[in-house]
Symmetry: C2
Subunit: 509 residues, 2 copies
């Protein structure tokens, strides 16, 4: 490594760093492709082999990401006098790679491998336990996962709470201290609002009755998502058991959804949700291609884009004033004598559910809080895995007023713990909070926001999102970005305000 004291040396170092950044990005892209293929295309007998192939590539990527070579480059490029000379994109790439490097270097290769193998197997165990409604079957595996996750937390290190070390993996800089404060306010005001909703005499009626042809559902999805800004020449819509969005590169961002004949609503909003993720990734500046910064900056910001599109646009009255006619035309004989307003109210029914992914936007965050509290307790060693089913049900009764009849509908419903993804759940609520704050800013910029949607001119909003959020990829940190866009740090009041405004209308409060 030559000393960084002359410009030509700096250029050589930047060049070397960019090449490594690109190589690592290519490995990640290939892993994304393999993951997508396993879930969407691979025939049943070929799936398990590709887990091994992914393991090989993932190990190789871990080695690259923790190599002495990248370490030396990152150190050289992190020196203050060097930082001053870097452009914003390079600086951000160095920041992102260094963050991972510093964390990864703390994890012995043995632990990394143990964790990878354990969680790969854990997923199968979890699937069986969920199917058989048999928590005890999953318990020993989950205990081991918690053990490993706690080792990660100790090795990563933290200032105040062991869970902080994990949160940082999913939303850089996020802490228990912040979350406790935010969730405290949010929970209190959500519970009050739910109380008023529950007692409203103006309960909306269900609009979806009978069977909805699946191929028509798909056709409507393909009709609506380009209108929301999804470029089908740079993406695909496929079918999987669980909807997701995944990026191969800026020119190839794929989404999936699922269809149920008797629940067209679920599929429709899941599709719009994934579209929100996808237009974020499709909107990243193409110049960042091949770098770690060519993707959205954090799970929280990502979720803000999907939830904004799903809930604040897709479940708005203005949206359906524009598109209800289109929607009806795909399902002749349905929704006869139903007004747009009644349809709009129907897609915003608030009611407690056992399953998080089926929750309305108001109760949704309560599901997250339950998971947050439980995993925080597990990581701190204050709770034991064996007590989870009981604690889960107690919290469900306390927060949502319902208790799941089975663990399949309760503590076993989500895949995250099987993956070992502790610290992930809070980013969902963070996304909701960010989206409300961004909506507030948009309303200031476009006081006629809902008229724009009503006129089917969502592209105007999408351009604004691209300009202010999407194009930047990971150039700004989540907190930098939210301050840049909205002029202030995360403020949970906007979500509560949005809820109160919208549901006062839907429920005539």
């Amino acid at each position: 490594m030559p000393p960084v004291n002359r410009l030509e040396n700096l250029e050589a170092i930047v060049q070397q760093f960019k090449e490594l950044d690109e190589t690592m990005t290519h490995y990640s892209d290939m892993l994304s492709l393999a993951g997508w293929d396993q879930q969407v295309m691979a025939p049943p007998k070929g799936k398990s082999y590709f887990s091994k192939v992914r393991g090989t590539l993932s190990t190789e990527l871990f080695r690259l990401a923790t190599s002495d070579q990248i370490g030396e480059l990152l150190n050289a490029l992190s020196r203050p006098e060097v930082q001053q000379q870097l452009d914003a994109a390079t600086k951000a790439a160095v920041r992102e790679r260094k963050r991972s490097y510093d964390k990864d270097k703390k994890i012995p290769e043995k632990l990394h491998k143990d964790f990878t193998i354990h969680t790969a197997n854990a997923r199968t165990v979890w699937e069986e336990a969920r199917k058989e409604n048999h928590f005890e079957k999953f318990r020993p595996t989950l205990e081991r996962t918690v053990e490993l996750v706690r080792q990660y937390s100790e090795l990563y290190g933290y200032e105040k709470h062991p869970y902080d070390a994990l949160l940082d993996d999913y939303e850089p800089g996020l802490t228990v201290e912040q979350l406790d404060r935010i969730f405290g306010t949010l929970r209190e005001r959500t519970v009050q609002l739910l109380e008023r909703i529950r007692h409203s005499p103006q309960q909306p009626r269900h609009a979806f009755e009978g069977a909805f042809d699946v191929s028509q559902q798909e056709k409507f999805n393909l009709h609506i998502i380009p209108l929301l800004g999804y470029d089908l020449d740079a993406g695909r819509l496929d079918v999987t058991a669980h909807p997701f969005a995944i990026t191969m590169n800026v020119g190839d961002v794929r989404i999936t959804t699922r269809y149920f004949e008797n629940d067209p609503k679920g599929s429709l909003f899941a599709t719009i949700h994934e579209t929100g993720h996808a237009i974020y990734e499709q909107g990243v500046n193409a110049e960042y291609e091949g770098s770690v910064i060519s993707s959205g900056v954090s799970l929280g910001i990502h979720e803000s884009q999907s939830r904004f599109l799903e809930n604040m646009v897709g479940r708005s009255e203005a949206f359906w004033e524009r598109y209800f006619g289109d929607y009806k035309s795909f399902f002749p004989g349905k929704f006869e004598n139903l007004s747009v307003r009644d349809f709009y109210r129907s897609v915003n029914i608030v009611a407690p559910t056992f399953i998080r992914v089926e929750a309305d936007e108001v109760t949704y965050n309560l599901h997250i809080m339950i998971r947050y509290e439980l995993e925080k307790g597990l990581v701190a060693g204050e709770l034991e895995v064996k007590d989870l089913p009981r604690l889960w049900n107690e919290k469900m009764r306390e927060y949502l007023g319902v208790e799941p009849p089975t663990d399949t509908l309760g503590v076993l419903q989500d895949v995250h713990w099987a993956y070992g993804a502790f610290g992930y759940f809070p980013t969902y609520t963070l996304g909701n909070l960010y989206s409300a704050q961004i909506r507030k800013t948009i309303l200031k910029q476009f006081p006629d926001f809902y008229d724009i949607i009503r006129r089917g001119q969502f592209s105007v909003i999408r351009e604004w999102l691209r300009e202010n959020i999407h194009q930047h990829g990971s150039v700004y940190t989540p907190s930098e970005l939210i301050e840049r866009v909205t002029g202030e740090p995360l403020n949970p009041d906007y979500l509560v305000e949005y809820f109160e405004e919208k549901y006062s209308d839907v429920y005539g409060l």
Copy 2:
């Protein structure tokens, strides 16, 4: 590297070799997946980026394959006293890896990279030139390709002819000397047969008239390919511009085909052809998974399996005696008043075509010979690229009696030269020769071969192929395999015999 003088050392060395073999196989599998995805699934705007991703992985694989580590292991494992102690599978894996290693080591990384980049671009140039019927546009690119290919040939080294060095890449051990002899006989007897066919008064009539619904064509394909032994739980059938088969692993061998409303025959036999490739790969012993030997041993042997299924089974009278009824039922109103015999004769019409992939099985090898002679001359420096269009047309007139009206229908028709794949074409004819020789052996083992097919019991034949050929993957070299299976080395007489027998019947000679 510890000395290989004690059993535990040998075991450690074998273990290290197996790990590297597996890692390299995983890289190849991932490259296969990326290649498949680019052609079948990737949206238009995402295709070019993945060429870069493949470049990164391919470079990494080249590094692994030429590393000192693998070199030392291969040397240790190639010593005669060590070889004796290895099981057949390990020995074969060492043989295959060493063959590539010895060749790759002769190529400087710079040349490898130049060749990779040049041929990636050449493909685009060729596509445009073909579209515009403009050979001159492709000429400079092809000249550079020939230059690079000749460098490879010199670096690889050869005993007699520079083209031998390239042939060996596609069919280990194959030489110009052998090919000249084989092609000499084959050409002479083919031309004689064609003469008799041309003058036969019993010319079969075309059976396919009008439009054939594409979705029905696809349904028939999905009906017939499992009956031929293709396991759809370990594969997929998709649509691409050019049909191909590709292996991810033994449990995932995918095929593609294409459909034309006015040419159901082309699609049907292309699908059966790719099915032949696929059942070879699906039939490899699953214990070889993750090793270089888990794939078919050579292009020639591979092509024997696809051509056997396509021509000797799929275009046999017995096959249609069993399945013509099924086929008709997918296309109501078609083939009315057409006998099985007339249908059979129709799918075996012999007539010169401009395009190789549309050729019948008799004229097909003449197309190959033209390419063989031209590329042999280019590699030897006896021909110049600029003369190709003229030479091509002259040879077409001489061998097939027709002259393509445009270069698009002539010298520009195939992608192989754009890829830099010189030495590939002869393996197609080799496949035809092998398939006839294997058919002869099958007829000895199963004198009621055609009755078996007539009864729809192809699985009996498929089991025999699996037992004798497929399961072995690359354990035996092509020449070992053909001798093991048929009891003698490659003998071109069987193909001519088969032609004479079959076409005496079809054309009443």
